[in-house]
């Protein structure tokens, strides 16, 4: 029974991983392009689709530079164009995240109030210790004076 549960759990885990992992897109026409282009997002969900878009983006030049694989260059241009729209979305999201952070900036407020309390408590503890030391000295002096006046034999106590 226990083995059955373990096996079903393992199966469930494996199937979850398999579902969560997207299938690799088919390689582009040039299989040599194994390394991703600069600026390609790490998130597979944001990766460009395998099939090129029907209309090339306006930002991309119509002709790839000479001396390079035209298919690869076309693919790269398309990736950049796709990424540009993703980047705009990411920027907006980043701004919204920053705005949320500023609006509920609890970290700095907590830090400031904690600093206030730490300093105040530190000062009070320091003053309390000084007061105790003062009380100790007063009692010591009282004892010394009592001893000196009682015996009347000159210097007695120590300060």
């Amino acid at each position: 029974m226990r083995r059955l549960i373990l096996a079903s759990f393992a199966l469930l885990t494996l199937s979850t991983i398999a579902v969560a992992q997207p299938a690799d897109p088919p390689p582009p026409s040039a299989p040599a392009a194994g390394a991703p282009a600069a600026g390609t997002p790490a998130n597979p969900a944001a990766a460009p689709p395998a099939v090129p878009a029907a209309t090339p983006p306006s930002a991309a030049p119509s002709q790839p530079p000479a001396g390079k694989d035209p298919a690869l260059e076309a693919r790269r241009m398309q990736c950049r164009a796709e990424f540009a729209s993703d980047l705009a979305e990411m920027e907006l999201e980043s701004h919204q995240r920053s705005a949320r952070l500023i609006a509920t900036n609890e970290r700095h407020v907590i830090l400031a109030y904690a600093a206030l309390w730490v300093l105040a408590v530190g000062f009070l503890v320091y003053q309390w210790q000084r007061q105790r030391e003062l009380d100790r000295r007063i009692h010591q002096l009282q004892r010394d004076l009592d001893a000196a006046t009682r015996d009347d034999k000159g210097p007695k106590g120590k300060s």
Binding site: L119, Q127, K156
Partner: protein, 226 residues
Amino acid sequence: MKRTLVPILAALAAVGLVYTLWGVFVVTPMDIELFFSQKIFYYHVPNWFVLFTAVVVAGISSLLYLKKRAPRYDDVATAAAELAVLFGAMGLITGSIWARAAWNAWWVWEPRLVTSLLIWLIMVGYVLVRRFGGTGAERLAAGLAVFGMVDIPLIYVGVNQGDRHPQAKVVKQLDEGTMKLFFWLSVLTYFLIFAALLLTRIQAIRAERELRVIHERGLDAGLLES
């Protein structure tokens, strides 16, 4: 009266602290420009109010001490200077944290901050001179306290140099009734704390001085050994 005054002040300050904390975080609305970090303002600014008061108290007491040479003025100046160091440290640290939230920088070399740091350093100097200066340090420290008092108007001038300091904006925006109410309540609370601490410190410093005098008399009379 003197014995009961400090506990009364401390109790009032404790009540004020709890009430203003509740008011600042529950009642007052969020600032439209500085948002949540503006909550630091309610305790940061009273720190500086108290620092200025402490520096003025230390300065005037020092002037009186220099003129009359009565130790009781020196006691008041010493107690006030110690509290100026405490409240100045609080103001500088909370200000630095607020600057990080508002300006994204822990410190900016703008006039008000620099003059505030200067006045705090002068008060630290006062405390160090009193602690390690030896004989005659009282007069030197009194001079420092008077010098520190002169720095206060410079800070007021410094904050009005442009709109860079967030506090200048916040004070203008305190239109909301509860914001003003809890700000001034926290100022009052801080003054109650200051008064309680000042009286306690004056009593302790006076006791220390009297103890020194008694000890010296005991030495002179041959009753005590050094």
